[in-house]
């Protein structure tokens, strides 16, 4: 009896499900192929991580591959070249992030003090523009500006007497991280200020009026009102940026590097590209990429959780 009503219930449920599927036929036709597509391009390649634990040969099938355990990871963490790429990645990531933060906050504070709406808008428009140009164009412009022959930077520095002869900005290792930091700031500064300017627009104007009555000047208002009111935004962006500590940017370094600076220019991503696709050591490159991506995903996840905990994600 119990069994029978169960079966009947299940039958009703199945019938209901069937009815839903039929009535939603068109939505299923629209969505299922797209979801399968997403699974194919985003999830299926995860299977390729097995290469990191094999002596992968593209000519062999999966069952013929030789399994080597952690061999490639042991190799990576004793390889001075790879350890150097970790150092470079961290260094450039930290330089870019801190420079990016300081310049964006400073620029947003100054821009916020501009009274003329037209002037403010023009400056903003100019400042976003490089964000939309490709890295190929931007690094090309940077190389032209830093050129030894008639480069604008050398010309200006020579003219005001800071240097006596043109500096080889792009071929001396000691300048490379600085050049990358400056390039990053030049391209992304305007874009990075948008979120701060939005936060500043929401500050209660009566706070400024009260401060004026108390005799505060522009600097004090900036320091005691504007800056504290964007503090939550700054903190959230800082936390989120931790998730990208191994993303030092790839294109800048790839496009500006050359043989003379490769000890300081090569990041983990460049290592993967050089060893994987140019020297066809697929297993080693996959292991290096796996290390980076797993650390990255974990950090992004933790950073997102941390932001959620603070309950301030609505600001982003």
């Amino acid at each position: 009896m119990q069994n029978g009503s169960n079966r009947q219930e299940r039958y009703v449920k199945l019938k209901k499900l069937n009815n839903t599927l039929v009535s939603q036929k068109q939505m299923l036709i629209m969505s299922v192929p797209i979801i399968l597509y997403v699974i194919l391009f985003s999830y299926v390649p995860l299977w390729g991580w097995t290469m990191a634990f094999q002596n992968f040969r593209p000519s062999k099938s999966f069952f013929q591959q030789e399994w080597v355990g952690l061999k490639w990871f042991k190799f990576l963490f004793s390889d001075p070249v790879f350890l150097r790429t970790i150092r470079n990645t961290l260094a450039m990531s930290i330089i870019n992030t801190s420079l990016g933060f300081i310049t964006a906050i400073g620029f947003a504070l100054l821009l916020n003090e501009i009274k003329s709406v037209a002037f403010k808008r023009i400056t903003q428009t100019i400042s976003y523009l490089p964000h939309f140009l490709s890295w190929v164009i931007v690094t090309g412009l940077v190389a032209t500006m830093l050129s030894v022959e008639d480069g604008a930077v050398n010309n200006v520095l020579l003219a005001i007497g800071v240097i006596k002869e043109p500096v080889l900005w792009l071929s001396e290792p000691k300048y490379f991280w600085g050049v990358i930091g400056a390039t990053y700031v030049w391209k992304e500064l305007g874009w990075n200020t948008i979120i701060y300017l939005a936060a500043m627009a929401g500050v209660d104007p009566t706070l400024y009026e009260a401060a004026e009555i108390d005799g505060c000047g522009r600097w004090r208002k900036m320091w005691y009102i504007t800056l504290p009111s964007i503090k939550p935004t700054i903190i959230i962006l800082l936390v989120l940026s931790i998730g990208h500590i191994l993303d030092a940017g790839f294109e800048m370094q790839y496009l500006l590097r050359n043989g003379l600076v490769q000890d300081v220019s090569d990041t983990i991503d460049i290592y993967v590209l050089l060893f994987g696709l140019q020297r066809s050591n697929y297993s080693l490159a996959t292991a290096a990429g796996l290390f980076k991506n797993v650390v990255n995903m974990t950090l992004i996840f933790l950073a997102n959780e941390l932001v959620k905990r603070t309950g301030e994600e609505r600001l982003i």
């Binding site: 100054l110 009274k115 939309f132 490709s134 190929v136 090309g140 190389a143 500006m145």
Partner: protein, 299 residues
Amino acid sequence: MKRRVNYNEYIFNTINVTIMILFSITMLYPFWNTIAVSFNEAIDTIRGGITLMPRRFTLQNYRIVFSNGTIFHAFLVSVARTTLNVLTNVFFTAMIAYVLSRPNFIFRKQFTVILVVSMYINAGLIPTYFLIKNLHLLNTFWVYVIPSMVSAFNFLVIRTFLRNIPESIIESVRIDGGTDFIIFFKIILPLSKPVLATVALFVAVGAWNSWFDTLIYASSKVNLHTLQYKLMEFLQSSQAQSRSAGDIGSMALSKTSNMVTPVSIRAAITVIAATPIIIVYPFIQRYFVIGMNLGGVKE
């Protein structure tokens, strides 16, 4: 007392405006200078000293670039891939956004999770390369189109917009016998034009600017090279003379005319590669402001 405050204000404003002007010059000068060089006679440019204006105006550099078959072809490849990327990405992303914005859709939760999580996971360069290889997309034009037909981020953007479309409109069409296909094509697509335009602009900018997919998936097929990739080759060849790929390119060009130098050609290609971005830039900005307003941010 009052006078001192005004005096301080005056100094502050002057310094601030000066900083902003210096900053704007830093942002604009490199590009302005490149435009000037691209319109200057190549031989004259070697003498140096070109800053804001061409000294000896000419269109020769552009004429050479466009009469060079490979560069013009690369321009066409870039146009073709950008067009197809925009059409496919906007269409398919809008379609999945519509289905997953229907509260009663049976797999709404599961499908949404699959899409959103795909934003965070990244198999990496080598596994993705082998996927492309196994799908026989290597060195074909379709490698530019097929892997980027849906975007999880754009999905979130479009879905947010669709949530603001009143349910009563959709219901009334359904009562009149409208199927989901009809609702999507006749109601959703026309109503969401603003958000689709925004997404289209951002997809277009990304597609036009990309060069890395050419490098890893199609670099051995010269007729698949995009304009950005060609420009990249020129830049690399001038930085390190040993890089052969770019040298072949510049030799091919210099055969066309002895009136040309890599510097001038590079400047002309840079301007050509940036012009479409500059043209759509005002629209990007307009939609950008609209987007900010939709987000409830006061200007």
